[in-house]
Subunit: 332 residues, 2 copies
């Protein structure tokens, strides 16, 4: 049995507020696989906003390797389903070499598209957007849709699916460049920089008839503005609330407009991507068609080297990404 | 055709904050029925918290008779379905004499129970509790239930239905007498006076495993505490948010804990009683059985005379009622 030298990222102290580099350390160690492990040389790993609350609430353990979605190449295997040289996806990122049991691996077959897409539009963030909007959000063709964090990995897919479904779509984001990207590149009907505008006023301008579906990624002031403008039988699928993730208990700014849910019989529903496992095949088929037809575009922000993984994660909360934030750990 | 002298209550100015007597006036006028009107001498009328937002948002017109559920006796009719002497329920309260079209009337048949019950446990507030808890809230036997404004007309029925369904039930209310009433008379497992306790701590004590269903009547600080303690797949049927009704735009205190909806896949859903029309028969059958079996108790706070109707409405926001607040306009 071979052994491997691998660098991995540990959480060494719990952040109070925005995480800082000092909350993490890089540890180099010798990995000795067990007999039934498939050994993966990771090429790309994902960082996601949802990783933030576990850093504080204890779900992420101290002084152990962190975890996230990753894609890599099998470099040692006795499993014929995952032979050496195969590309695989798993949940043991934040390390250069992962030893993974076969039942925790998914084969990745590319069909002309880049490997990285399987960590976003064709991966978990894509399915999150697809299921959250179409299943939890029960989107109907032609409705009025608002999505926050619209230039992010999930939001950008949400907005484009809604456009494909003939909806009027408004997105919020955190810079003027992103506003331009949403309108010029992704075809949003209206977009605004929430840091320099009134969310409530922009929603009135962009969706004068009100909101049928608010795809919630941000929480706090965004939800406060959007909830007050929900139309009868409106839906708020809650994917994330990034605005509060660096606060104690992931508490957001206060939301005061929830009584509109009563008069307009609005449904707000938290969801997680695992609910949509049965939609996986249809999702891949639809997304590949949309990408091929030029209706689904994506952006990536890729940082280089495992030593950048903490900065990549921190960067999510500073809006440093357009589209999906990834870290590249090795050459393809 | 006869004419009738009737006193009625008008909204004459829009309240800013808690309504005051000066926002209303009593007007005496001569009512001349149209040929197809059924003329009703009202005996009891209802006041409900949900009447408050329309006083400010414009849905309740100025200088016109207000409206609410009422029960009375037919005193003039050419409709054989609603003959003179019949008891009827309709939506044109806040006046002594109502002229109602037949399609806006419901016959009231009492089966030993008091007439007033058809304005609460056997009426709209009862169906609101029944449908909101069992349909919107999708209550399962044995779950952990929290209901706010638990000594009110809706909350007291919610708590008792949950007890009938084998649930652990905690209620909040606004006085120590009401706490005693909830526990001693209605069989709640735990109850607390929100004005003198920490809602969050009381919930931890009363429902140590967390909350499966929070029946929401209050909003603001109540929701802030409850949402943070929702269990996986918990439900929050939103019936009302009385804590904010006297604020501009019916805005509540800020709710900061909504991110718990994501991790625990919680659903919050606003509803109105009209959704449960198809449950009306089953509701009446169940409630009559429960009342007969001594499992469903009720309280009434009855003010006398139409001139008291504004004070009755205002009293809802001061917690002056235990159970249903009614106004009696004439002898039975």
């Amino acid at each position: 049995m071979s052994s491997y030298s691998s660098r991995e990222i540990h959480l060494t102290s719990r952040p109070d507020g925005l995480p800082v580099a000092e909350n993490f350390s890089m540890v180099e160690r010798t990995v000795v696989p067990e007999a039934d492990d498939v050994v993966v040389q990771n090429i790309y790993m994902s960082v996601d906003p949802a990783m933030r609350p576990p850093l504080t609430n204890g779900a992420t353990k101290l002084d152990e390797p962190m975890a996230s979605s990753a894609i890599g190449k099998v470099i040692q295997s006795s499993n014929s389903e995952f032979p050496e040289g195969a590309y695989v996806r798993h949940r043991l990122g934040f390390r250069e070499i992962s030893c993974v049991k076969a039942d925790q691996l998914e084969p990745i077959t590319t069909d002309g598209e880049s490997l990285t897409t399987h960590l976003h539009v064709l991966g978990m963030t894509g399915l999150t957007a697809y299921g959250g909007l179409l299943v939890t959000g029960a989107l109907q063709d032609g409705e009025n849709v608002f999505v926050s964090a619209a230039a992010g990995a999930v939001g950008s897919v949400v907005g484009q699916i809604a456009k494909i479904k003939g909806c009027r779509v408004v997105g919020s984001c955190g810079s003027d460049d992103k506003v331009k990207h949403l309108i010029d590149d992704l075809g949003f009907d209206h977009a605004f920089n929430y840091k320099t505008s009134s969310i409530s006023k922009e929603l009135h301008v962009g969706l004068p008839k009100g909101i049928d579906v608010y795809f919630e990624n941000v929480g706090g002031a965004h939800l406060d503005a959007a909830c007050g403008q929900m139309r009868p039988l409106g839906r708020i699928p809650v994917c994330g609330m990034i605005s509060g993730y660096n606060n104690k208990g992931a508490r957001s700014e206060g939301v005061t407009t929830l009584s509109n849910m009563i008069y307009n019989r609005v449904t707000m529903k938290g969801f997680v991507v695992y609910e949509f496992a049965d939609k996986q095949e249809q999702f891949l088929r639809d997304m590949r068609t949309w990408i091929a037809d030029g209706k689904m575009k994506y952006s990536e922000t890729i940082m280089q080297g495992i030593e950048q993984a903490p900065e990549a994660l921190i960067g999510l909360f500073e809006g440093k990404n357009t589209g999906k934030m990834l870290v590249q750990l090795a050459q393809e």
